[in-house]
Each structure stands twice: as C-alpha cells, then as structure tokens.
Subunit: 80 residues, 2 copies
C-alpha cells in the first residue's frame, strides 16, 4: 500500500542558525515585529509499506540514515 | 498581541527540483519504495499584530516581498 508521510526536520533548540537570523532581521527591516523565527525542512513522501506502523518505521529509518543529523536535528514524522 | 504563524513554501507543480529528485533516488538506493518526494521550506514565526486577520496579512506580505518567488513558488499560511 501507499502511505503519504510528512517528515519535518528542525535544528535542536539552542543551535545557531545564521540563515534564520538573517531572515528575521530582513523581516524586521520590512517594518514588522518578529520575535522568533525557525526554519524547518519538510518532506512530503509517498512510500510503499504494508501498514501504517511500517510506513512510520521506514520514515524513521530514512531520517536516521539520510535526512537528519541526530547531533543537531530533531524530526517529526506524520503518516497520513 | 503575538501570533504564531507557520508559512510553508513549495515549488509549483511541474517545476523541476533536482535536490528532491536526488533525495528520492537516495531513498530508493536504501531499498525503500518511494513514488513521490517534495521538499518544502517551513517557517515558524512569532509576529506582532493587532488581530488574527492582520497577522495573516503580514505573513502574506512577508511571503510576497521576501520568502517566496511568485513565479515558481506557492505558499500556505497558517495562523495559530
């Protein structure tokens, strides 16, 4: 069966993110008040799996082996 | 008041995305069946606004003026 999976990868709290900081400053320069900005990578994937549990397991494995660096990233998996 | 806004920016349908295609192939090399992969940028922003409507309007303006290229991107705004 096909499962639609959404994987969201973000930097752990406290990790410096110069890109996000630059965007936050650019928004402030546009004249808007912005307190906090976090940038995340989101992947929408259609996977083959026998059931929802397996789809979640495969997505976890993809994160660990390919998409996320466990030292600096956290990830959230959502199987639809 | 402070509003938490999530902005998700993705390439329009039909736009080539070599990065997503490379990731799709890397996942296939790990031995998993993957039909479709889309990569999106997601921003979680805390904004100053007088009400929810204004927060949405500001987020739209940030997308148009800074984050998205209307020729190739679509964006979705969610005010929490």
């Amino acid at each position: 069966m096909k499962y639609d999976v959404t994987i969201t990868i973000s930097l752990k709290e406290g990790m410096l993110n110069p890109e996000a900081e630059a965007i936050r400053r650019a928004i402030a320069h546009l004249g808007y008040g912005v307190d906090y900005l976090q940038k995340q990578d989101q992947y929408r994937i259609t996977l083959d799996a026998v059931n929802k549990q397996e789809a979640e397991k495969i997505a976890g494995s993809i994160c660990e082996r390919l998409l996320a660096n466990p030292v600096i990233h956290t990830y959230v998996i959502e199987v639809i």
